[in-house]
């Protein structure tokens, strides 16, 4: 492995790969991406794959809105030899309680102020979009047609191939064991395959970002939280949008392949690195999914898995330089919605690092918000 680099990126998920590409495409040379296992082996490859603009905070809505534009043209932009499978079947967010509906109204006002074309619709209109939706007790729904989902493995593969063509090196099955700093600046990264001298390190490790920050003596306010998902056998296309019911803690989509992917959040999930699949999840998700979408009771589950959210205190990302370790940047804490905003968080971070004009204020994602600043509390997280 090489002995030095301009930039070392730790983490071969969507954030690390997209950041590598955005740096390289702006002319930065000599970039290395270090990945402990294989690309997208962490949270990216385990995520629900949704891409939605229906958020409650302006920051998430802007990042998602602009990322949708990138996903729309990604096959061409990255000259990908496969297909990222971006399907814009929309997101249908259904509301079964008045509190939730009031919050949705506020969220939609934020979305409209940013030009996101979300519609507020009646239960009957929701059922026209998803005929197998249970509208008993449904108050209303919000729908945005340009939301959708993409294949995380192929999106990462596309960034990987485009970055490789621009000269970025990827070292998979390589662990970072230490980071050296001198006089408050990072100087080198120790790995299982040798040391790399570098004055810039980007920590894009998701739930492991805290472990990396500890190597320079900094406590990142992140904690891991397991989330589980399952996939069914493929059937003919019958559901256009991703259906989200925050009341049922449920998301459920049908992929272009025909299979259904779904998950539920568990409010009692402990803060832990456990990624084993549980029996309790199968029963829980099956009950919620067959309540909201009764037709699905006939679908067979073929596989379940789990992954870890990298939860920050306000469920929003951290994009900042580590205090007392100049040259070390953090892009983590995405709290379960990193995949869908990654194309634009990578641009934002790279603009900041290169001293260019940022397309939106990056300070709002800074570490200072956890020590007395203004938190970015997001209400619309599954």
């Amino acid at each position: 492995m090489q002995k030095s680099a301009n930039v070392v990126i730790i983490g071969g998920g969507i954030t690390g790969c997209a950041t590598a590409y955005e740096l390289a495409v702006r002319g930065v040379k000599d970039i290395v991406v270090i990945e402990k296992q294989y690309l997208s082996s962490g949270a990216t490859g385990r995520c629900g794959a949704g891409v939605r603009q229906q958020w409650g905070t302006e920051t998430n809505a802007i990042l998602a809105r602009d990322s949708v534009k990138r996903f729309e043209g990604m096959n061409e932009e990255l000259e990908y030899d496969r297909d990222i499978e971006f399907k814009q079947g929309g997101y249908l967010m259904v509301s079964y309680t008045q509190n939730e509906w009031n919050q949705y109204k506020k969220n939609v006002a934020v979305q409209h102020s940013l030009g996101i074309p979300t519609k507020m619709i009646t239960p009957q209109e929701a059922q026209e979009i998803v005929p197998h939706l249970n509208i008993n007790g449904l108050i209303g729904a919000t729908f945005c047609q340009s939301d959708g989902h993409a294949n995380p493995f192929h999106v990462v593969d596309a960034y990987y191939k485009a970055a490789s063509r621009l000269g970025v090196k990827f070292e998979t099955y390589t662990s970072v064991t230490g980071i050296t700093r001198e006089k408050g600046k990072v100087t080198s990264v120790q790995t299982s395959k040798g040391d790399i001298a570098a004055s810039m390190v980007i920590n894009a490790c998701g739930y492991a970002a805290g472990t990396i920050c500890k190597m320079v003596g900094f406590e990142l306010p992140l904690y891991p939280q397991r989330h589980q998902a399952l996939v069914t056998e493929p059937v003919e296309p019958c559901q256009g949008p991703m259906v989200i019911s925050l009341h049922h803690r449920l998301y459920c989509q049908q992929t272009p392949h025909g299979s259904f992917i779904m998950g539920v959040g568990d409010p009692n999930e402990p803060k832990d690195f456990n990624i084993n699949s549980s029996w309790e999840f199968l029963e829980d998700v099956a009950r919620q999914a067959t309540t909201v979408l009764p037709l699905l009771k006939n679908l067979r589950v073929v596989r379940q898995w789990s992954g870890l959210y990298d939860m920050s205190p306000d469920a929003n990302p951290i994009l900042d330089e580590v205090p007392d370790a100049k040259g070390m940047w953090v892009a983590a804490g995405f709290s379960g919605h990193g995949f869908m905003v990654a194309p634009q968080t990578a641009v934002l971070l790279v603009q900041k690092i290169l001293g260019q004009n940022c397309f939106m204020p990056i300070e709002r994602f800074g570490l200072e918000r956890f020590s007395g600043g203004e938190l970015l509390l997001e209400s619309a997280v599954v």
Partner: protein, 89 residues
């Protein structure tokens, strides 16, 4: 062997030629191949193709099959209806 006509993953219709091509491109494990081309993601969960792909990787890298990294074995063992888990059937 006719690599174009030899099906390795029966659930997803993946041929030996496609598997060999991915290995040539540098996809190093069963997990990586699975994620790019869906081999092993169908109803049988890789019961047939897992070991066939392992053999190809072992040949390519000159290592015993036992040293090829296995993917995680995940539930369910066989396909089960959501309605069964929900307790309705």
């Amino acid at each position: 062997m006719q690599t174009k006509e030899t099906i390795v993953c029966r659930c997803e219709d993946i041929t030996l030629e496609e598997i060999k091509s991915l290995i040539d491109q540098g996809y190093r494990t069963i997990d990586e191949i699975k994620r790019v081309i869906r081999a092993g993601m169908g109803p049988c969960q890789g019961r047939t193709c897992r070991m066939l792909i392992a053999q190809e990787l072992a040949k390519y890298y000159g290592i015993p099959v036992g040293e090829v990294l296995m993917p995680t074995f995940r539930p369910t063992v066989r396909p089960v209806k959501l309605g069964t888990f929900a307790g309705g059937e």
